[in-house]
Each structure stands twice: as structure tokens, then as C-alpha cells.
């Protein structure tokens, strides 16, 4: 047994390695990125397991399914919205006969520290009818990752490991256990269980539904789903889930008559334990990190006159992440006094593009061209550092929706009649899910100008190498069929400001698909390289 001080993300990575993982796939996304970073570094040093970034979360999950088909263990990592991209592979993967353990790690971002929504991955587990494990600390993150592989092989389906930002990016010491060997190659024995033609799929769905009782039994017996009864308190009891556990424990000492407490970290829900804790109290307090999933699901299990205190009546905040303070009203505890001064209004300090960032130079070109055009123009943008161009003083983009949507929403806007439509997208985002949008534009001959802001890296998440080198981008774009005269690479530098402006004007004047690739390396990445 050894001790390591690790981030929650790194604890997952180490758990996977010690749990006998053979292949690791993922797409960078805060707060999940450090899992793959750890695995990539480990793999480079030790020669195994196989680890690589994928183009997007869907390709990553499908690659992991392939590993599982070969009988080996695979892990795939993404942020919560990444699972939307991978949803097709995910929902169908649940129906396959999984023999090589497949763990889908999804890091949610309640509070949207670095995301465009705060969707709760536990709904996906329920949707797909597969188990989900949720750790509350680094040690559990390690232990549960190992458990998730075993559980996946035991239940014959993928298993989700759900993390949240505060665990992913929090550091503590963990103790590790003896590593397990990788699985040998052992191809799935019956191909009918891997071909989801309707007849097979119906049989597989029936089988998955049949396994639900085993999953519930597992959750019922799990030592993570601990029920601590205090029969003398018949007023109220507490159910915690996810980091709600930590914040409850932090406050528990202040409660005079300790309520009975059930923690849930293994899903599907342990129904008997829930019935048991609810049976003898008048009020059930539910503290869950994420949407009110437990609160909504347990309605049917409980006596009608039971009072439920939780998110649905907004006593526990429905939005944002939980913390040690915002659960106190539900527990009947008053806020604590602090050293805060009442006086000065503090100026906010939002994140911003780094000084000297290539995106600043490109946005400056766009902004000036817009001002000089003398007619309406539209700029759609996308997910990455360049989204920060939405803030003053630049304030250029008008839409930021989801990965790849700059190109496709530009297409729709142009087709609806907007003029001079420009889409701004990063190199990594373009390869993630901008390519298919460009195909659509070429197929329709839409009048759009796509500006690929190529900083030769995935900068927002810390500078991962883009899946294809920058030098190949132009050929990729040409290969899709954009007119060769209207594919151009320009240097994203203020030195070339006037030339770049002329070129943008020329492409806006062209009534068809233009692609301008504005290249200059991210200065953060460049700085790291020089270190």
C-alpha cells in the first residue's frame, strides 16, 4: 500500500491503472481533463495502458467499446456536456454484452465554473438503465473506479462514474491497493449480442431490463449506501448524495438530536433503505449535488404525509453547487458570522484572453471590418478560449451554444437571410464537431465565412495537442470541397492587420463558402514549451 497526494481526477486515473485498464480514451473538458493527462503521462513512462485523446467524446466512447469487445477493460473520460455528444454510442452501448469492463467517467460542473450548463449525469444512467457510482472524496474516487470495472463485468453493461468539479479539482492523500492484471484478449463470444439489429436489440433490451433487479440488489447491499439509524429521532431524517454528504457531515455536529442518515453513492436507488429511513419520521431532508433526481424518483416509495425538504421547494437551492453554507437552512441552522466588511462595492474580475493572445488580433480585425462594412453583419462563435472575446472590450461574438455550433448556426442564419455571416471556431473544436457542419455548408453552397482561429492547441483546457497538426487543416478544408481560391491561411498577428482585414473583406464579398485559417500558436502553450 502506498500513499499519494492526488486530485480527484488523478485518483480516478490511478484507480483505472490499478484496476487493470488496457485502453483509455477521452476528449479534454473541464473538469475531467486531468484524468487523461495523468493516464497519458503514466502510459508514456510505463509503456501501458494504451492512452490517447480522441476527436470527440463519441469517437472516444466507440473506441472504448471496441476495447471492451476484445474482452479488455477500457475507460473513457469527458465532461458532462461531452456525454451529449457521445449519447448515441452511450445509449446503445448499454445494450451490448459487455465482458471487458467499460467505465464511462463523466465530470459534471454544477455551478458552471467552466461550462455552458449544469446537467446532471445521473439522469443519463437512469435513461440507459445502467449503474452509476459517485465518490465523495479522493479515496472513494480511487476505490470506486476499481469497483466500477468489476461491476461492469458483473452486470454485463457499462458503468458510469460521476464526478463533480469540486472533487475533480481537489487534492488529498489516498492509499492504494495491489494492482490487478489486465484482462487477456477474449473476444465477445456471441456476435448477436453486439449487433443491434432490431431483433437482437429487443432481446438485449429485455436482458438489460431483467438485470435491473440485480443492480438494485447490488446497490441495496453496497457499503457506500450507508444507513445510520437513530430511532430516537422521529422528527426528521437526512438523505445525502454526492458531495451533499461532505457538507452535511461538516454541519452535523451542530445538530442536537442527530437525524438518521442515508448516503447514496451507488445507483440505481436502494429502495428498501429509502423506505426504511422514511418510515419513522415526519420530514425527510434531501441534500443531493445536482438536479433533484432522488427527490423526484422516490415519491412513489414514500408515505403520503411525509414532508420532503429539498430542491423542489427551493429550500436547498435548485441552481448551482451545494456548499457547507447553503444546506444550512434545510437543517434549520442559522448562517455564521464572518469578518466581512459592509462598505466597499468590489469590482468584478472576470476571466479574459491572455495579453498577446492571437485571438485578440483576429477579433480586432473582425471588429474593424464590421464597423467599415456599412451593412449588417453577424458573428457566431464556439467553445474555447475565444469565447472570452464575447466580453468587453472586444464583444464580438453573438452566439456561443455548443461544440461546433458556430458553423452550423452561421449556416442557418445565412439561409434565413442574414448578411455577412462569420463563424469563429478553434482548431480543436473544428475537428471535434465543426467538420460535419462545413460539409453541410459546402453541400448547400451557403454564403458564410468561417474563420478557424488556429492556435495549434486545445488551449482552454491547458494546452493539449490538437488531434491533427495545424499544417493539415488547410488540406482537410480543401478536401471537403471549399473552392481552393477561398481557403486561405493567414498569420493571426497584428503585424499583418491590414492584409488580414483586406482578406476578410474579400471573403465576405464572395457569395459562397470561404474558410480563413488564422494561425498563431497560443502564447501559454508556447511559453510552456520554452520552459
Amino acid at each position: 500500500m502506498s500513499e499519494y497526494v492526488v486530485l480527484g481526477d488523478e485518483a480516478v486515473a490511478l484507480g483505472a491503472v490499478h484496476g487493470g485498464v488496457s485502453s483509455c480514451y477521452g476528449y479534454p473538458g473541464t473538469p475531467s481533463t486531468e484524468i487523461m493527462e495523468y493516464l497519458l503521462e503514466y502510459s508514456e513512462k510505463k509503456g501501458s495502458p494504451f492512452a490517447c485523446w480522441s476527436s470527440n467524446e463519441k469517437t472516444a466512447l466507440e473506441e472504448a467499446l471496441g476495447t471492451s469487445f476484445a474482452g479488455k477493460r477500457a475507460i473513457v473520460t469527458m465532461k458532462h456536456v461531452g456525454l451529449n455528444v457521445a449519447a448515441d454510442a452511450f445509449m446503445n452501448g448499454a445494450l451490448l454484452d459487455i465482458r471487458g469492463g467499460l467505465v464511462v467517467v463523466v465530470a459534471d460542473d454544477p455551478g458552471m465554473h467552466s461550462s455552458q450548463n449544469e446537467q446532471d449525469t445521473r439522469f443519463y444512467a437512469d435513461f440507459a438503465k445502467i449503474p452509476l457510482l459517485e465518490p465523495v472524496n479522493q479515496q472513494q474516487a480511487y476505490d470506486m473506479t476499481r469497483e466500477a470495472f468489476d461491476l461492469s463485468e458483473k452486470m454485463g453493461c457499462p458503468v458510469i462514474l460521476r464526478l463533480v468539479t469540486r472533487l475533480s479539482h481537489s487534492r488529498a492523500a489516498i492509499a492504494t491497493a495491489a494492482p490487478r492484471e489486465e484482462n487477456p484478449i477474449n473476444k465477445a463470444p456471441n456476435k448477436m449480442d453486439w449487433m443491434l439489429l432490431p431483433a437482437n436489440a429487443r432481446r438485449r433490451w429485455d436482458s438489460l431490463l431483467g438485470r435491473q433487479k440485480d443492480m438494485i440488489a447490488y446497490s441495496e447491499e453496497s457499503s457506500v449506501n450507508t444507513l445510520v439509524m437513530n430511532e430516537s429521532n422521529s422528527d426528521r431524517a437526512v438523505i445525502t448524495a454526492g458531495l451533499g454528504y461532505n457538507y452535511y457531515k461538516e454541519n452535523e455536529a451542530e445538530l442536537t438530536d442527530k437525524p438518521s442518515h442515508l448516503h447514496i453513492g451507488v445507483y440505481p436507488l436502494p429502495e428498501e433503505k429509502i423506505k426504511k429511513i422514511a418510515a419513522q419520521v415526519k420530514e425527510l431532508i434531501i441534500l443531493e449535488e445536482g438536479y433533484p433526481l432522488i427527490e423526484r424518483m422516490i415519491g412513489g416509495l414514500l408515505p403520503r404525509d411525509l414532508k420532503i425538504t429539498g430542491k423542489l421547494d427551493n429550500i436547498v437551492p435548485l441552481q448551482g453547487e451545494l456548499n457547507p453554507d447553503n444546506i444550512r437552512p434545510a437543517l434549520g441552522l442559522a448562517p455564521k458570522e464572518s469578518a466581512a466588511l459592509a462598505s466597499m462595492e468590489l469590482a468584478g474580475r472576470p476571466p479574459q484572453l491572455c495579453k498577446g493572445c492571437p485571438h485578440i488580433d483576429t477579433y480586432t480585425v473582425i471588429k474593424e471590418v464590421q464597423a467599415e462594412l456599412g451593412e449588417e453583419s453577424t458573428v457566431t462563435s464556439d467553445i474555447g478560449c475565444y469565447a472570452l472575446g464575447a466580453l468587453p472590450p472586444l464583444s464580438v461574438p453573438e452566439t456561443i451554444i455548443c461544440m461546433g455550433a458556430s458553423i452550423t448556426s452561421a449556416k442557418g442564419s445565412a439561409e434565413a437571410g442574414l448578411k455577412n455571416v462569420m463563424a469563429v471556431i478553434g482548431d480543436s473544436t473544428f475537428l471535434h464537431s465543426g467538420l460535419t457542419g462545413l460539409v453541410d455548408c459546402v453541400a448547400s453552397g451557403t454564403d458564410v465565412t468561417i474563420i478557424i482561429v488556429d492556435n495549434e492547441t486545445t488551449a482552454m483546457t491547458g494546452g493539449q495537442t490538437t488531434i491533427l497538426p495545424s499544417s493539415r487543416l488547410e488540406n482537410v478544408v480543401r478536401g471537403i470541397g471549399v473552392e481552393p481560391d477561398h481557403v486561405v491561411t493567414i498569420p493571426a498577428h497584428r503585424k499583418f492587420h491590414d492584409e488580414n482585414k483586406d482578406r476578410l473583406k474579400k471573403e465576405l464579398a464572395y457569395k459562397g463558402v470561404s474558410v480563413i485559417i488564422a494561425v498563431r500558436e497560443c502564447i501559454e502553450t508556447a511559453r510552456k514549451k520554452n520552459k
Binding site: P31, S114, A339, A340, L346, R349
Partner: protein, 189 residues
């Protein structure tokens, strides 16, 4: 024993490397440490905050409750005021006095100074000049750790051992400069 610290600063200032020194020292002193960090979008020049918890028993929450932190340790004066809600009425603020003015509406320096003066318990540190006195403009964060030292449940030896751990691969000279920065910081009352 428990000691909770809110660390603050501006993305890119090296708040996390400052945190690493304290965390390493606390682990060396035999304590449990839990540290919540900021990664991703907020790191780009925005306000950053980290929670560090040191204890000799179980630490449940990664986040410190409001009104319960023992110290706000800040690399920037405006940022030191942002998280006072977390500081206990008896807590201390240790902060750099050197502003990072990367926003157009940065407050007037006199106004800011007056606000800092209102704090009950504080140590205001001109980390820049002490760092150059120590021999490197980049040792400012060690000056700040030094200034915090007398309130931390850690000895100067623990802190120096942590510096040695974290900086020895950069050479003896760097280690010496950081020792000196710690010492100079620790003399601030």
C-alpha cells in the same frame, strides 16, 4: 486542530504554487490536507480562489464554510477583500499590497488602502520589494508565505523543508533565494 485558509489572487499569479508549499509543509508536519483548486476558464486572468484545509482529524468538505476560515492569504489586495465572507471574525488577512490592474474599473488605490485598514487583523506585505531583496522578483509568493508563517500551525523548518522539496530540482541558488524570501516575509508584523 484544524486550520482553514482561503487563498486568493489573479489567474496566472501562481496561487497554486503558493498553495503547494503550504500543503507540502503541512503534510510533512503530519497533518491531513485537503485543497480545492480552480482550473479551466477562471484561470485566464480572472479572480481565482482556492480552499486549503489542514487538520489532525477527518476533513469532510473540500470547501470551507463561511465565517470559519482562519486566514485569507492573498497575492493581490483587491482579491483579499473578495472572500471576507469566509473569514471568521477572529481570522487574519495576509495580503500583497501590489495591485494587478487588468480591469478597467480597478478601484482607486487610496480607497483600497482605506478598506484594508479597516480589517481587524491583517498583515500587509510589499512582496515585490522584499522579493527583489531576496534575490528574485519571482519569489514574491514565498515572501507572502513567510508573512503568514507565524499564524500557521507550521514551523519555519516545515516550510523550508517544503521549499527544498519543491524547488531543489531547480538548483541550490533558487532554494536559497526562496529561504531568504520566507525569512524576510516572516519579519513582517
Amino acid at each position: 486542530m484544524k486550520y482553514d485558509i482561503i487563498l486568493s489572487g489573479v489567474g496566472g499569479q501562481g496561487v497554486l504554487s503558493l498553495a503547494a508549499v503550504i500543503a507540502t509543509a503541512a503534510a510533512k508536519a503530519g497533518y491531513r490536507v485537503r485543497q480545492s483548486e480552480v482550473h479551466g476558464m477562471a484561470q485566464r486572468g480572472g479572480a481565482v480562489m482556492a480552499h486549503m484545509r489542514i487538520a489532525d482529524g477527518e476533513i469532510y468538505s473540500d470547501l470551507i464554510g463561511q465565517g470559519t476560515a482562519d486566514m485569507v492569504l492573498s497575492m493581490e489586495p483587491l482579491e483579499s477583500l473578495r472572500y471576507l465572507k469566509w473569514l471568521s471574525p477572529e481570522g487574519v488577512v495576509v495580503t500583497s499590497t501590489n495591485p494587478v490592474k487588468n480591469i478597467p474599473n480597478y478601484p482607486d488605490e487610496d480607497e483600497l488602502k482605506a478598506e484594508l485598514d479597516k480589517l481587524k487583523s491583517k498583515r500587509l506585505v510589499d512582496d515585490k520589494s522584499l522579493a527583489s531583496e531576496a534575490g528574485s522578483s519571482r519569489a514574491g509568493n514565498m515572501v507572502i508565505v513567510g508573512a503568514a508563517a507565524s499564524s500557521l500551525p507550521l514551523s519555519m523548518d516545515d516550510l523550508k523543508a517544503a521549499v527544498e522539496d519543491l524547488f531543489s530540482r531547480k538548483g541550490e541558488k533558487i532554494v536559497e533565494v526562496n529561504y531568504k524570501a520566507l525569512d524576510l516575509g516572516s519579519q513582517i508584523a
